[in-house]
């Protein structure tokens, strides 16, 4: 008998969904608007419709679908199947999404944090395939993360484990949007890299990036990478700091979680080796030489599909462990 899993990646703008088999092969995938402005009931209906469409588009039999996995922004609760109050899903307050979707589809459903789901996707089908201990950093507007230890997602008592953007890498340093002084996110996220560059420019330091700021353009991570490659000293400093603090976080994760692989994901990995080589170099300088327990640092391979594939993988795992 064939066994399929629906994966749903619930975002602020779009719902990405697809059908996946037990070997993580994608049988269908598409994206539809979330329509969060239409209220929670509409969002739930859209997710349910997306799940049914994922099955239909793959030409699969409804009874061969073992489970649905949904990746949701936090704060949320896997254990309660509850979307609590995510910043990018206004109005989705205390929505028992897991049970609502399960009831509407007649299919067992599991709810997971979206960053955890993406990490699970890479673990199941991407850069972490074949290993049991993996740490993932997601480098986008903010810095997210996920930890898998001995083949199990690390959630923690309050279900906020793996919030790797808020590791303190420079205590007392730059204030993060979360309020803490010196978070990884305050140095290595696209948002804060741009802020940092703008602050330096405001202090009167010379930089080719000034042109963008002067034109009222939004300064992006890509601008910083390009300027850095072209030899702009300010851009180089901002970029190198971002890579350095990622290496610091890798060393800390090495000693806490001791993973076999550290996977870098998210929009910033478009910078390619210009990112990875620098993280690795700083990591080698920083880490101990006492024991030979160095994780391999590498790129994610699933791109934007990690979310829904990982969510489907969470349903696959829930089926194996009985932990829905």
């Amino acid at each position: 008998m064939a066994a399929y899993f629906v994966g749903v990646d619930l975002g602020g703008t779009n719902i990405k969904a697809g059908l996946v088999d037990e070997q993580a092969n994608v049988k269908s995938k598409f994206s539809v608007p979330t329509e969060v402005e239409q209220g929670p009931d509409r969002v739930v209906r859209n997710i349910t419709a997306a799940a049914e469409r994922a099955i239909a588009e793959a030409g699969a039999n409804h009874k061969d679908v073992v489970g649905i996995g949904i990746g949701s922004p936090g704060p949320m609760s896997h254990r309660q199947g509850l979307v609590i109050n995510p910043g990018n899903l206004p109005g989705m307050k205390n929505v028992p999404l897991r049970d609502q979707v399960a009831k509407a589809t007649g299919i067992r459903t599991t709810l997971e944090n979206d960053a955890n789901a993406a990490a699970w996707g890479e673990f199941w089908a991407g850069a972490g395939k074949g290993v049991q201990d993996l740490v993932m950093f997601t480098l986008g507007t903010g810095v997210g993360g996920g930890v898998i230890s001995e083949g199990k997602l690390l959630r923690g008592y309050f279900e906020n484990g793996g919030e790797l953007g808020h590791i303190l890498v420079d205590p007392g340093g730059r204030r993060c949007s979360c309020g803490q002084p010196g978070c990884l996110e305050a140095y290595s996220s696209a948002y804060f890299m741009a802020r940092r560059a703008e602050e330096f420019i405001a202090e009167g330091r010379p930089s080719s990036l000034k042109a963008h700021v002067g034109l009222g353009e939004m300064l992006m991570a890509e601008h910083i990478v390009d300027a850095s490659k072209a030899g702009d000293a300010l851009a180089q400093q901002v970029w190198d700091e971002a890579c350095y603090y990622l290496a610091v976080a890798c060393v800390t994760m090495q000693h806490v979680v001791n993973p076999q692989r550290v996977v870098m994901a998210g929009g910033m990995i478009a910078a390619g080796d210009y990112l990875l080589d620098r993280i690795r170099r700083h990591f080698e300088e920083l880490t101990w030489k006492l024991l030979d327990d160095y994780p391999k640092i590498l790129f994610a391979t699933l791109g934007n599909d990690a979310g829904f594939i990982g969510a489907a993988g969470c349903a696959w795992q829930a089926d194996r462990t009985g932990d829905w």
Copy 2:
């Protein structure tokens, strides 16, 4: 039928052993010399003899003993049951201790890292009783640690997980004995607190601690605590830094592991509230106010017994999970 577990805490100088029942009640306990200078065979015989004595002294029946747990200094391997090459057990190189003790006693045996075993002791029978997610810092000459997530020890791929003394709390800062710049241990261990005070004194800063150094005495953590309480500015700075960086590490562990409790253990907790209040205060200043996911920070309760009780608890857990 009664079920008992032998716990053995293997140290550089002494072997601490005892018999414990399923509820972690101690039925016998004692300490004997390790005699590491007599070679590995002698150490193995001493451990075997200690296990038999723990059973006999408790008046227990050999057939009611389900397992033996041994806590060993690292590097070691739980999975292989191997003591690899611990710095404080010279000559104990690649000793298959688990299988040797199991063969000699006829009792199933499990081997665990000593810091992990102590954390497991507090989890099973001490400050972590009743919770599933716990982080322990052991504050002694160095800084050790252990992490328990969803009721399971976090070991990691290379089996060096929970090395919390080597979290980078001040990247680029004080060089740790492990070689890394800015480890927690380089600020919050008894050894490095004393070094830090001596360096300040060598720089010509005034301090009542000068008397100890001048007399050729070894400066101890207790001296720093006493001088700090008496108003010595240098001692206060060293002590406050030690507490501050512990709080930094607690914030990082909050976001990575998201535990319900953080337990402080080891010799330094003799400082009592002078330690705990200060760590808590810095933690409250540093941590985010975004979510209400603060671990309770508290003291270990088993003292020096945590090692052998925890080792026995590892055998109890191995019996439940089949993971010897």
